[in-house]
């Protein structure tokens, strides 16, 4: 199991995560920030649990994020 966390309010809308992990991320047309698909909002931190098969690509997205607001952890 993998937990992905996104501190959405700090997103600058650069689009890297969408390019690297398209199944999990989309740019919101509403505010130009990225949305974690399936993410649940807890005080501004969006979290989703996904299968191990999504680890590699989301880890790449986290590493590419210029404002370091994506966390990907294996549990």
């Amino acid at each position: 199991m993998v937990i992905i966390t996104h501190q959405r309010d700090k997103c600058i809308g650069c689009n890297y995560c969408v390019e690297l992990a398209y199944e999990r991320w989309r740019m919101s047309k509403k505010d130009g920030k990225c949305t974690l698909i399936g993410g649940e909002n807890r005080k501004g931190f969006y979290t989703v649990k996904v299968g191990d098969e999504e680890f590699a690509e989301n880890k790449r997205a986290a590493e590419a994020c210029p404002v370091n607001i994506i966390q990907v952890k294996k549990i």
């Binding site: 997103c11 600058i12 809308g13 650069c14 689009n15 890297y16 740019m27 919101s28 047309k29 509403k30 505010d31 130009g32 920030k33 590419a64 994020c65 210029p66 404002v67």
Partner: protein, 415 residues
């Protein structure tokens, strides 16, 4: 029309927070510029306002006849188009004076929405034909920072001679950068931060890696090349104060101060200094003695050392001597505002760390207060006159300016 009056130069201040905004208003700015949310060139380094702050910004500034400009000048992608429209619509509703734009999508939508457009430095305007092109969309344009004053004057003259007018029907106004950080890249078009950290300067997320030290290594034999100056990619800060008369003589109409990521006291000091210098120029009292005093003032706040940029025709840049600031003093947080007694003209502070003494130079900043600087003449703790007060003390000092619980108090120490 600005605060200084029709035909007079406009001093435009950076505002990265309500503290800086108030400091700009209080110290003589004619206009302020600021960003909201993520689509501006200080998306990373400055706190930035939110969309909901726009009416408050517009109201506060209108009360002092200060113009308001929203920066919306990053590279724009398809996924940004909707928020751009929302932003511009809200700018119009709130009564913000204009937007500063570079992307054609932004320029085009603002024009159709009836919002005034100013051309950003990101468009690198360097000649009169480019001015004519953007005159179809914008009334004010900032020129490239890499031009000399001779080139700036030529463009200003040509606008008058060829009667180049913007959408408002007025002659195009030319703006230039007067003070603040310079960038090694032409008009800020830099990819260093993007290449090393995925962090695009052109989306407002520059990590400023140009400000660090670098070595050049010969890969064939492994020799490290000696570089006379370590900070080879970090230019000194632009300062035009000591040749402001030459700047004003070019015919530019707006002087822009860089620094949305800077502290409120930086905005206060730089705006105050330039405001005085501009007024002195108009009054015929712009003297070497005054310039010396102003330059000493400027050196007290964040700076990488000063140079005249490219305005006086230098071919090569001057590089910084340190990674950070060469300011002659720094601030230390000591406590928070508690209460103001208007009748007694006294301010009550809680000292939370360090200590404070009579004779200390202090700084008070807050979102409504802006920036207040003073020297402590006397102070009281528990109704007793004291010379010093330490951590935990409730201190009351005489102060003519109102302070608030949202204020922080700092003391200045030599850097």
């Amino acid at each position: 029309m600005n605060r200084r009056g029709e035909g007079k130069i406009e001093l435009m201040a950076p505002a990265g927070s309500f503290e800086s905004l108030q400091a700009a208003i209080d110290n003589g700015a004619d206009a302020v510029y600021f960003g909201v949310e993520q689509l501006n060139m200080r998306a990373r380094s400055s706190i930035n306002f939110t969309l909901d702050d726009l009416p408050e910004i517009a109201l506060r500034c209108a009360a002092h006849k200060v113009k308001t400009y929203l920066t919306l000048n990053t590279i724009i992608y398809d996924h940004d188009l909707s928020i751009i429209k929302t932003l511009i619509n809200r700018v119009k509703e709130a009564g913000i004076t204009a937007i500063i734009a570079s992307d054609q999508a932004v320029i085009n939508y603002a024009r159709t929405a009836g919002v005034e457009v100013h051309i950003s430095t990101q468009l690198n305007v360097t000649n009169i034909e480019t001015v004519k092109f953007y005159a179809l969309f914008a009334d004010v344009m900032v020129l490239s920072r890499e031009l000399s004053l001779r080139q700036v004057k030529k463009i200003c003259d040509a606008i008058r001679d060829e009667d180049v007018r913007g959408p408002s029907g007025e002659l195009i106004k030319i703006e230039i950068f007067a003070h603040g950080a310079l960038c090694m890249a032409v008009s800020g078009k830099c990819y260093l931060s993007l290449h090393t950290q995925n962090s695009s300067a052109n989306r407002g997320a520059c990590v400023q890696n140009c400000r660090r030290t670098y070595k050049v290594i010969d890969l064939e034999d492994g020799h490290e090349l000696e570089i006379d100056n370590e900070y080879i990619m970090s230019p000194k800060d632009l300062c035009t104060l000591d040749f402001l008369d030459q700047v004003m003589a070019t015919g530019v109409q707006v002087l822009k101060i860089e620094g949305r990521a800077r502290a409120p006291e930086y905005v206060a000091t730089v705006i105050k200094t330039y405001n005085e210098a501009i007024n002195a120029y108009y009054e015929g009292s712009y003297t070497p003695e005054k310039i010396k005093g102003w330059m000493e003032q400027l050196a007290t706040v964040y700076n990488r050392g000063f140079w005249s940029g490219y305005y006086l025709g230098q071919q090569l840049g001057e590089w910084a001597e340190a990674p950070g600031s060469l300011a002659t003093r720094k601030k230390i947080f000591i406590g928070k505002g508690i209460h103001y007694y208007p009748k007694q003209q006294a301010a009550h502070f809680k000292i939370e760390t360090q200590s404070v003494a009579v004779g200390d130079e202090i700084l008070i900043t807050g979102p409504t207060t802006g920036v207040v600087e003073t020297t402590i003449a006397s102070m009281r703790v528990e109704d007793q006159e004291v010379d010093t007060a330490g951590k935990g003390a409730d201190v009351t000092i005489p102060l003519a300016t109102r302070i608030r619980p949202s204020d922080k108090i700092y003391k200045y120490v030599p850097a």
